[in-house]
Symmetry: C2
Subunit: 326 residues, 2 copies
Amino acid sequence: MDNKNNHAPGRAVQAAFVGVDWGTSSFRAWLMAADGQVLAHTRSSEGMLHCAQAGFAPVLQAHLAQLQAPAGLPVLMCGMVGARQGWLEAPYLHTPTRLDALHQGAVPVPFDFAGHELRILPGVACTDARQPDVMRGEETQLLGAIAPDFTGSVCIPGTHSKWVSLQHGAISGFATCMTGELFAVLSRHSILSHAVEATEAAEVAAAAQVPDAAFLEGVASALREPAALTQLLFRLRAAQLLGHEQRADGAARLSGLLIGAELAAMRARQTAGDGQGVQLIAAGRLGTLYHAALEAAGFAPTLRDAEDASRQGLVQAARRLWLAPR
Amino acid sequence: MDNKNNHAPGRAVQAAFVGVDWGTSSFRAWLMAADGQVLAHTRSSEGMLHCAQAGFAPVLQAHLAQLQAPAGLPVLMCGMVGARQGWLEAPYLHTPTRLDALHQGAVPVPFDFAGHELRILPGVACTDARQPDVMRGEETQLLGAIAPDFTGSVCIPGTHSKWVSLQHGAISGFATCMTGELFAVLSRHSILSHAVEATEAAEVAAAAQVPDAAFLEGVASALREPAALTQLLFRLRAAQLLGHEQRADGAARLSGLLIGAELAAMRARQTAGDGQGVQLIAAGRLGTLYHAALEAAGFAPTLRDAEDASRQGLVQAARRLWLAPR
């Protein structure tokens, strides 16, 4: 458990709540002031998958102690902790749904520890039977990163990349691409494991430090042949067997093919033409890669930090719940 | 090792050669008469992956004994046994290549057992740097199943499905789709493992006994949105989470999506329109599924048995090598 604590005795600013982003494989908590200032934070790999076995309450208690969170402070959580397999199911809001109404769906969690009041923010579901889809955690990032009356498109890349359409601050629809997970399973479990150098992380992000030539060629191939993904994947292997490409480039090229396939799918879905603005909520190398790929696909991306977005979303919702009730 | 032996003492027909189809995960051998009659056969799961550890020669010796193959009989092999990771590399022929020239690329294998002469048929490579591709084993099926002067398209589904264009009996080009392998890794190692009932076999074939509604809907979805595969895959999971679809249908639907994506890719590649004839070389349930999917995609498939094709291809090549030298 990493932690950083500015919450020393004598500190002037008062803690107002604890925000928790609890994902499938990661945990992040922030001790927050009412004005959005971070007083202390912790993070660990105790995500939902870990806690489904080990229990959720002990993990949260340990982090609250680490943060030196005052007794009785409210705690607001988002992410997979609210899934059916999580701590307690927080039922999905249904599209269309305004982002500033997220807090109204927050579900109270029974938690007998130092008087803390606990709530989990809901995910969002698109229940249209023709294109059913679900998100948990990204809705909070949208609340934190997107202007209140925003209309347009947002891309949130990851294991399951989200593409969200907003109309005047409401989620009108969204789609998920399995991009990051495809990279992980193909590079570990398929014949492409022979075509890709071993990488430590499961994420597409791990594939390339900066958008190199192989990555951009992969993106271009997928954009040029948008229907040919299952074929382009095998071609990666064949090109190495025949000496046209190097194994050292395999991971970057695979990453480019999969991100390119995602962009081709989403470009086919867009009604607007070239140069369309897209808000890109991402962190680190994944942000760099998607920014380059989006530009290559003719989008005009604006990058926003993913962790900032989660934290700011929790602040917005906590204000409405506890700090400035309406 | 399964075996069936008609090769009893006093049998009138004389054995002329042994044909072996030695794939990644399977081994099949036939004791053949010069006229193509099968005198005995064996099969096992001692494929290339098994033998790369355990050795190739002992496996072949055991099967030759099982077949009661007379000493000195020539043995002709095809498939992954000739790959770089196989017994001995049989260099690829390059497109365009005539099928009736395959035997000229057969590589002799040192084998000191009962005077048998051993050869491995070559695979075929498409060395065009824009669409590099390789096959091993399918070229022998083509030789066995396709008329000598055939012009048209052939689909050979499997772990790595092949789509082959022929011009007057020569392979002019081909493409591979990772359809079967995608089904295997996604249903075992991704979040879709929660959306698919456990199946025993890795093949797409295992997904559905007959083309049921969920399979055909999957095919239709992929054909309707040919660029959207990474999105359609996640939608399968979301639709179950939201109660629109049943887990019992998950495997058939996933199989349909992946086969549909393959057909969409290949349809985009074809210059001809609806009703185009396609020779389909496949066995069992896989043949049934692809036949239905091809019809749904507007092709006019003709089904040919995959095992017959391999055996007949070995007969054709053996005749040219040993039985009726030109």
